[in-house]
Amino acid sequence: MDFTEDQIHRYSRHIILPEVGGKGQEKIMNAKVFIVGAGGLGCPVGYYLTAAGVGTLKIIDNDKVELSNLQRQIAHSTDRIGMPKVDSVKKTFEALNPDVNVIALNQKITKENIFDLIGDCDVVVDGSDNFPTRYLVNDACVMAGKPLVSGAILRFEGQVTTIVPKLGHCYRCLFEEMPPAGLVPSCQEAGVLGALPGIVGGLQAMEVLKYILDKGDLLTNSMIIFEAMKARFRKVKVPKNPDCPVCGNNPTITELQDYDAEHCRLNF
């Protein structure tokens, strides 16, 4: 635990917590986190994990910053419109905390590259905006035994759950199959009130930090549902499904599938 003077000041509010201390901060600084998506959720998750001093933050997204992103995607800015989102967040995160090694991957996550991408990471965060990616990330994390903090938002509602393979449920225990394209909200229906991803992303970042620190209760048997209009948080139990096609006792999905069905990209 050889902190520099700057690090002692920067992380002092962590160090004085009994549950963190210098040892916990060291764990954070040694952690490697992979974030899927540099949008509404990826921005706040990455922002807080950068502030916390996570050692390496690998983030993937193949979109560019658009004006319509800026109402909620807080790590981008007006002068970066047209820039790859991962380059934009890298600039923001490095300005916040130069200690953090930000690896920006301007590419699409696929069944061909995902195992390589998650292989050297301690924990994965899903901030993706579409079902094919969500299921791809879930299945790959279950197969690779990687913990996954999953978050989703739409309109005024958000949900967060933490998947630790073998220990608890996975995304398919909850929602076994991808919804058919017709049931996914069309792009016109898919608004989101700007502060919502901050709340959900903040919860995801907190789950990641608790996982790294090995402290507190993770959402491994439950899901938090936040209803902004009701100003209400609900924590619902999520049992592991013994018949789950990917993490159940007799899985039928044992290798990654072709996830790219005809789904409208909601662009969160």
Binding site: M1, F3, H9, S12, I15, I16, P18, G21, G22
Partner: protein
């Protein structure tokens, strides 16, 4: 009673809260259970707050000594990681 011989000493004169505690805590974390840390400080609030926080964190405060007008020496024994 025999004088306790500290296993480690830190001089945090010139520091204010919360860095007084941050320094003391980092020093304790790097020690073995049963070892004693001596802290020399000149920030009056910390002479009260460090012993209180150390006790909250499960450590034993063996001594709080005002050695002159503005300096204190604390002796803290590490009881838990």
């Amino acid at each position: 009673m025999n004088e306790v011989t500290p296993d480690k000493k830190i001089d945090i004169r010139g520091l204010v809260c919360p860095y007084t505690f941050v320094r003391s805590k980092l020093a304790i974390e790097g020690m073995e259970i049963g070892q004693v840390l001596e802290v020399l400080l000149d920030y009056e609030d910390a002479s009260i707050n460090i012993p209180k926080s150390m006790q909250d964190h499960g450590q034993s405060v063996l001594k709080v000594d005002k050695i002159n007008d503005k300096e204190w020496i604390l002796l803290i024994r590490k009881e838990k990681d």
